[in-house]
Symmetry: C2
Subunit: 216 residues, 2 copies
């Protein structure tokens, strides 16, 4: 006999609320207490992934959420390394604060420079962000080479990102690229280890956007 | 003293190859042997998430990968429940096979019908797929309500999806919605449990596309 399945009925707008309640309950069960300023961000990452490991691996530089919110209030732009993250970022919320989101990955000039220089398009697309004449929050959800390029630009004093969200996912240089970012003076939100992704990058951006709009 | 970080140098096109080698090595270490036809799909999901749990939770109906490849060869379209998954699906690869990818989530008529009927937009956007006059592969990466709607349409004999990729993520009705799909006669690829996501839905579509193009 088939096991009976329990379907709960909620109005559409209640589903997210109930999800966050479940996340809070489970964090409590696991004896995990998130610092107040990090809580909305880490919880939204768990909401996006259903993966509680993030509660233990997310790393924030000092006052990172407040710094990011201040940047967003001042109209900072967001540059990301994938069109998936670009699709996931709430661009209406960002526009209400005067910011714009960009992904240069599919640009013809980026593809050409990447080919010529033997770099990934992700790395070159980070360089291209220098054309933006205001503070930029970088949201890297895919390519560790993007983080490595940002690190190089910072170390060589060529360019200074206002903020780095460093959550590439994968197996080659991913962990090291995140560690390098954590050694710079740039404020950051990073997920240590191999996990991350475009969805995680977008979730972090959105959590910061929602907190900014709520508190302004 | 700071720990020395090891950065490996690879040409851009080598990074993915090396990643899949690492995934194979780790599956071997964990004594996990994936069925041959499922291997490219499950490995790409792990590549996208860096989460080996998927090797244990991915569920395939009989011959699901072969059925999906046949559909793609015949020019099937893909309908997804998020613009993030739409952004992540390799639309050039799909077009080479004569297929198109759609997401109706942002459509005005979908928003309106959702409001009127008290449904989620995701559910209504599944209904809208009926306007497509050829076989449709559904790729649900976000909303369990989309899967519940597909289930209802199948049970009421209103509409029959050609294939369902059921990988919504989250905490409310997610597990039950996947179980229901597994009880239909529709061929499926599902990830049991809470995990999934738009990135996972796109990864499954892309794995199937790449296998189809490789073997045709």
């Amino acid at each position: 006999m088939e096991r009976e399945l329990k379907i709960e009925y909620f109005l559409p707008q209640e589903i997210e609320k109930r999800s966050f309640e479940i996340i809070s309950e489970e964090l409590l069960k696991r004896n995990i207490e998130l610092p107040t300023d990090q809580e909305p961000v880490t919880k939204r990452v768990i909401h996006t992934s259903a993966d509680f490991e993030y509660a233990e691996t997310m790393a924030y530089s000092e006052d990172a959420p407040a710094i990011a919110r201040q940047l967003l209030i001042n109209g900072a732009d967001i540059v990301t390394d994938t069109n998936m993250a670009l699709a996931g970022i709430n661009k209406k919320a960002l526009a209400r604060l005067g910011g714009q989101a960009h992904c240069f990955m599919a640009d013809e000039d980026v593809a050409q420079a990447a080919e010529e220089r033997g770099f990934t398009r992700a790395a070159i697309s980070m360089e291209k962000a220098r054309i933006i004449e205001k503070p930029v929050i970088f949201a890297v959800g895919n390519a560790p080479t993007a983080l490595l390029q940002l690190y190089r630009m910072v170390e060589e004093d060529q360019y200074h990102p206002a903020f780095i969200i460093g959550v590439p996912v994968g197996f080659v240089n991913v962990e090291a690229s995140k560690e390098l970012i954590m050694r710079t003076k740039i404020p950051y939100i990073v997920n240590r280890g191999r996990k991350g992704g475009s969805n995680i990058a977008a979730a972090i951006c959105n959590a910061l956007l929602y907190e900014t709009l709520k508190n302004r």
